[in-house]
Amino acid sequence: MNDLLRRLLNLPPQASTYARDVDFLHYFVITTTMLGATFVFLLALYFLVRYRRRTPGETTVRVVTSTPQEVFIIGSILSLFLVFWVVGTLQYDRMMTPPPDAMTVYVTAKQWMWKFSYADGRSSMDVLTVPEGKPVRLVMTSRDVIHSFYVPAFRMKHDVVPGRYYTAWFEAKAPGTYAIDCAEYCGVSHSRMLGEVHVLSPGDYSSWLDGHPPATGDLVAAGRDVAAQRGCLNCHTLDGQPHIGPTWVGLYGSQVKLEGGRTVAADDAYLTRSMMDPQADIVVGYKSVMPTYRGVLEEPEAAALVELIRSLQTAPHAPSITLPKVTTEGSALPQEPLP
């Protein structure tokens, strides 16, 4: 039944986990509304024939539908629409909130091409390679105008807006190649801004990973090298001691209190933002002295740093030296001693 209706409505294959649910709601909404439309049209045809004019200038009796009848019609239609809305909103919220354990891929849209950067440092143009059966979180931004990342087979679409990191996600169900389109008009070659999602079975995916070794060996080691080279360690510590910048120990996934009273979860997007745009979120008690690393740090290096910070959540490094107490003047936070 599902396949028949899908083929009848010319829908692409249901290749992501939520595609099936969306399609079932689709069938329910389309059938109920088309039945309603056909009923209304047939009712009109019936009245047309049944009450056709027999003699010219014929007068008719004044008939007004009673209010209860009106209320019933309105009530039934409204309740049907509200059912659409409730199911639609629940599915929409699930489709728009990535699961926490999803694998991250950075998507950068530029006028008329897609660039994908993976967590382990590799990046590719217009082709997104993901394993089957694992949720993939796309952290997307645009370099120029609004684009829209649209994979019809996954029933997934999200605008890519310059100036913000929007996240969208999918979990591919079956290996295969699925087309990516740009859905938001973005200029001359809007219709040629195409890409492909290569979904590989776990075996193929691991051989694909081996086939393309990431730039450096162990990610956490790569992260520490980058942190040393780029001078991160001048302000941030790996052993929990407070210094000019917040320590990275226990940072990943914690709730960070910011200036102006906001608290933000320190997830991948927050860490990336803090590297690329440190002025955006100033942690309470710290001065905003950090320079921006946009254009300095390549995506793979940023990804390696995030992996390093994630690893420090459980295994902080032993303090090789005790750093001088730095009191950031005017900071509301008293420098409590190390636990």
């Binding site: 100036g163 913000r164 990191y165 690329m276 955006a280």
Partner: protein, 112 residues
């Protein structure tokens, strides 16, 4: 029946009093500029402005003298204004993705 005989218009004295009230309120909101009251300054500033606007609309524009359709029309315009602000701010405030101060790309074209 010329309009002059309608009694509910503002008298000359009423107009002068309204002006005085407006100037006093303006003075007050000016002083609030130099008093640091933090986030409350939004409500004080806009609240005083709303009071002054109401004074002008009621006493100078004499909206109460107008027929009910006029008042209805103006109320509808204000309610649409409020609807637009409410729903847009609801979106901006509840959006989980903050803006970037200087986002990648989209550098602006400097002229001069």
């Amino acid at each position: 029946m010329s309009e002059a005989t309608q009694t509910r218009e503002t008298s000359a004295r009423g107009l002068a009093l309204t002006l005085l009230a407006l100037l006093v309120l303006a003075g007050f909101s000016l002083t609030m500029r130099f008093v640091h009251i933090g986030a409350a300054s939004y409500f004080v500033g806009l609240g005083v402005a709303a009071i002054k606007a109401a004074l002008v609309v009621v006493f100078f524009m004499e909206i109460l003298v107008e027929k009910v359709t006029v008042r209805l029309a103006f109320a509808v315009c204000l309610s649409l204004f409020a609807l637009l602000i409410a729903l847009v701010l609801a979106d901006v405030l509840t959006r989980s993705v903050p803006p970037l101060q200087n986002p990648p790309g989209s550098a602006q074209r400097y002229r001069g």
